[in-house]
């Protein structure tokens, strides 16, 4: 007698258990509440909140968005009310989310990251922390951390010392050797890596003879960057043993599968939510169907399967012997 089982989509990222392997990308999903009328949040793994900094930030001047072929440029500039106001007024509301809630921390010094990480991680409403060391849209800072292996190590060590909660470090694709940065983050105590943030880009208004973004430069997202992101996941997965949250232009279940097969243990959806808020549920349904069709019991069974010379021991958990 064969019992037809629903494939298991749950994954574990560090100490964080996710019912579904789908996170909603930081800065793309507000606090989750904004999308609640349009999607069942109980059917996503978790929301990565918009990044918060030590001091309030008004963000960049407009235009902050430009639609480009197969993607979009954004330069929001980390608009947020600052950690003190955030803790006092906003964080309590996150308790009601039917999915995991991951706080995102950004900063301009090692100390910034440590202070904000400690305060945010101390709250029960926050299940894990993502360190946004790769925001491309703040003048001369921000991304500096993710582009320098030593700075990456320093900021991760400092944040690690403040909390036992799962620490996900978000890496930048705007580097020569992302694997080297990934190794530093792992050695400094990261529990997982988010791969990747947006790709730096620019668009110019040919009538006004002026860059189209208020911030001049921006971060490119959407399917335009997917092959870049898939390669980054592939390379990072060969360099570290900690799990990877793959992201960059995922719109369909096929896109998501590319990331899992390259070595991601979970995925993150950002820009696609703007096209159609049903995308996260469509992808979860598609993953179930894909696994069932191939008679695979778990999403974990396919992680890294297209990655030759795959080094990620976690991914092969339960698959050895």
């Amino acid at each position: 007698m064969v019992t037809r089982m629903q494939p298991d989509l749950s994954v574990r990222i560090g100490k964080l258990d996710l019912a579904y392997p789908t996170l909603m990308g930081s800065g793309c999903y507000g606090s989750g509440a904004e999308f609640e009328p349009f999607v069942d949040l109980a059917r996503i793994g978790g929301v990565v909140l918009k990044s918060v900094t030590r001091a309030p930030r008004l963000g960049n001047p407009t235009p902050r968005l430009v639609h480009t072929p197969a993607g979009m440029l954004n330069a929001i500039g980390l608009q947020n009310p600052g950690i003190a106001w955030y803790l006092a007024h906003d964080v309590a509301k996150f308790a009601s989310r039917p999915c995991k809630v991951i706080g995102s921390v950004a900063g301009f010094s090692v100390d910034d990251y440590a202070v904000v990480c400690e305060q945010l991680a101390a709250r029960d409403e926050i299940h894990a922390i993502e360190l946004n060391i790769s925001c491309p849209n703040v003048a001369s800072e921000g991304e500096t951390f993710a582009c320098d292996p030593r700075l990456t190590a320093r900021v991760v060590r400092a944040a690690r010392a403040t909390t036992g909660k799962t620490l996900i470090v978000k890496l930048s694709p705007n580097v020569t050797d992302i694997a080297a940065i990934a190794r530093e983050a792992e050695a400094a105590g990261a529990d997982a890596l988010a791969v990747v943030n947006t790709v730096r880009g620019m668009a110019i208004d040919v009538d006004a003879w002026h860059p189209r973004l208020g911030n001049v430069t921006g971060g490119l997202s959407g399917p335009a960057i997917r092959p870049i992101a898939v390669l980054a996941v592939y390379e990072v997965a060969r360099a570290v043993k900690i799990p990877i949250v793959g992201q960059g232009g995922i719109e369909t279940v096929t896109d998501a599968l590319e990331f899992f097969l390259a070595g991601a243990s979970a995925i993150s959806i950002g820009t696609a939510n703007f096209t159609d808020p049903r995308v996260p549920e469509t992808i979860v349904d598609g993953l179930s169907e894909y696994l069932a069709r191939r008679k695979l019991a778990s999403i974990r069974d396919i992680v890294g399967r297209a990655n030759l010379g795959f080094a990620n021991a976690y991914q092969f958990e339960g698959d050895e012997g």
């Binding site: 918009k50 968005l65 929001i76």
Partner: protein, 275 residues
């Protein structure tokens, strides 16, 4: 999914009528009972784009009646060109209704509506509601040419007093519609406006000069349309009821905060904007 009292959700609709009131202007009517029922004047929807397109299209709710709502748009780019290809019977997936509409609860008895170009797409339901409540409505309608004064007769038949202006003088006043407004013999006591940014700024100026409040429906490039990405902001005073959750200004700090056009707006009071 719970039933929401606001009707907010993703609606898979069918196009039940399509008309082109002028060249490159399209009105798509869809069967969408929830949307039509809950839509408030001045709200908008996000239309899920045809396959292969990344960004959804934000469109004002043009008409909402019974189980039918419609959108009006100018064909001006790749996405609107694709939308314009759709025919009766085709499917259209819509998220909404979104944003706060115009604030009509305490409207005075004489209201002026200023519409410029495609801005007309967001003001018809406001005119209808005000007229239903016994208000007198003056429509100041500006367009490039007579042909682009789309559906002017619809407003007239609804009971609006129509004042038109065209850039080329092919109909009504030759010049910008806000000049016409500034010369109004009997100025309205409240202005509602939707149109291109230069027109809205001019409306704000005229409103300040003749000392009447004005509500402006802003247009910005949207990504999400629901408040998730903070891409479509406009600076407003922190004391505004529409200011997002943000700490009070520190000593020497700015008195403005960036509000989301899609979430806190798209309608803002002219005197609260710092743009």
């Amino acid at each position: 999914m719970p039933t929401l009292s606001t009707g907010e959700r993703v609606h898979v609709t069918k196009i039940v009528d399509r008309r082109t009131p002028a060249a490159d202007v399209v009105v798509l009517g869809v069967r969408a009972p929830q949307l039509a029922r809950f839509a408030k004047p001045g709200q908008f929807v996000m239309v899920v784009p045809p396959a292969g397109e990344v960004a959804s299209v934000a469109l004002g709710i043009y008409e909402a009646q019974g189980d039918r709502m419609s959108v009006l748009f100018f064909v001006s780019g790749k996405r609107t060109t694709e939308l314009a290809r759709l025919q009766e019977g085709d499917e259209l997936t819509i998220t909404g209704p979104l944003g706060n509409g115009f604030f009509l609860d305490d409207a005075p008895s004489e209201v002026g509506i200023v519409a410029g170009g495609v801005g007309v797409a967001s003001v018809l339901t406001s005119a209808q509601e005000l007229l239903k409540n016994g208000c007198r409505v003056q429509l100041y309608y500006g367009a490039r040419t007579q042909e682009r004064l789309v559906d002017m007769d619809l407003f007239a038949r609804a009971g609006c007093e129509v004042h038109a202006a065209t850039d080329d003088g092919s109909f009504g006043y030759r010049g910008v519609v806000t000049d016409l407004l500034a010369r109004a013999a009997r100025p309205p006591r409240l202005l509602l406006a939707c149109g291109p940014s230069p027109m809205l700024r001019a409306v704000a100026r005229v409103a300040a000069e003749i000392d009447i409040p004005a509500q402006l429906s802003l247009e910005e490039t949207f990504a999400c349309g629901v408040g998730g990405c903070w891409g479509c902001v406009v600076p407003i005073v922190r004391t505004s009821a529409q200011a997002p959750s943000f700490p009070p200004a520190v000593l020497g700090g700015s008195d403005v905060v960036n509000a989301r056009v899609c979430k806190e707006g798209p309608v803002f009071w002219a005197h609260e904007l710092r743009w």
